[in-house]
Symmetry: C2
Subunit: 117 residues, 2 copies
């Protein structure tokens, strides 16, 4: 996987790095179980600080795309592709309709989902 960063971009470095990796996972270039470069190594290769890389990795971790473990590294999480999601989408639509009736905002619903997860 090729990662490049543009230090003059208005997009933060950690965001650029996370975005590239996120795309690679989405494209299947990185598969579940695959290990990312150690932060130290990637930082050296990219010419950025290790903290910047670790922040990128942490972002992907928060998204559930990877797992991070000291001594072991960062590995891509099991694939989350949904096969039969039509039913799920129907539920989501119903839920949204219900939430709207209660006068909830999008963020309020999102927060509720987040809380109950």
């Amino acid at each position: 996987m090729l990662i490049v960063v543009d230090e003059f971009s208005k997009e933060p470095l950690y965001s650029q790095i996370a975005g590239t990796i996120r795309g690679a996972i989405a494209d299947g270039e990185l598969l579940p179980g695959d290990r990312l470069f150690p932060a130290k190594q990637l930082a050296r290769d990219l010419g950025v600080n290790i903290h910047t890389v670790l922040r990128s990795y942490a972002e992907l971790k928060d998204e559930g795309l990877v797992k991070m473990r000291p001594g072991q590294g960062v590995t891509v999480t099991a694939n989350q592709t949904v096969k039969n999601k039509s039913q799920l989408e129907k539920m989501v639509r119903q839920l949204i309709q219900q939430a709207r009736q209660y006068g909830m905002s999008k963020n309020q619903l999102a927060e509720m989902v987040n809380r109950k997860w």
Copy 2:
């Protein structure tokens, strides 16, 4: 609001701080629109680094509990309470269960809700 940190606790400092504020919001001690202490000030008062406080705030921001804006500070987000929400909560629980069966992550579900809103 009183915030104390235990530097010998195994719980990270930023987590301790975020937890205290999270609790204060849950208890209604902090109300929507209320402003948190500037990170610099709180850091000084607690005897920790400003980054540690900013990390706490960022965590609460990711949870949707507060908003952060340069120059303006950190403010508690609008309350999410819904009056007749028992049915809605039941739907959310079902939805989450369904989503889990499909192997979706929390963020994937959130994104789905966001997209369909």
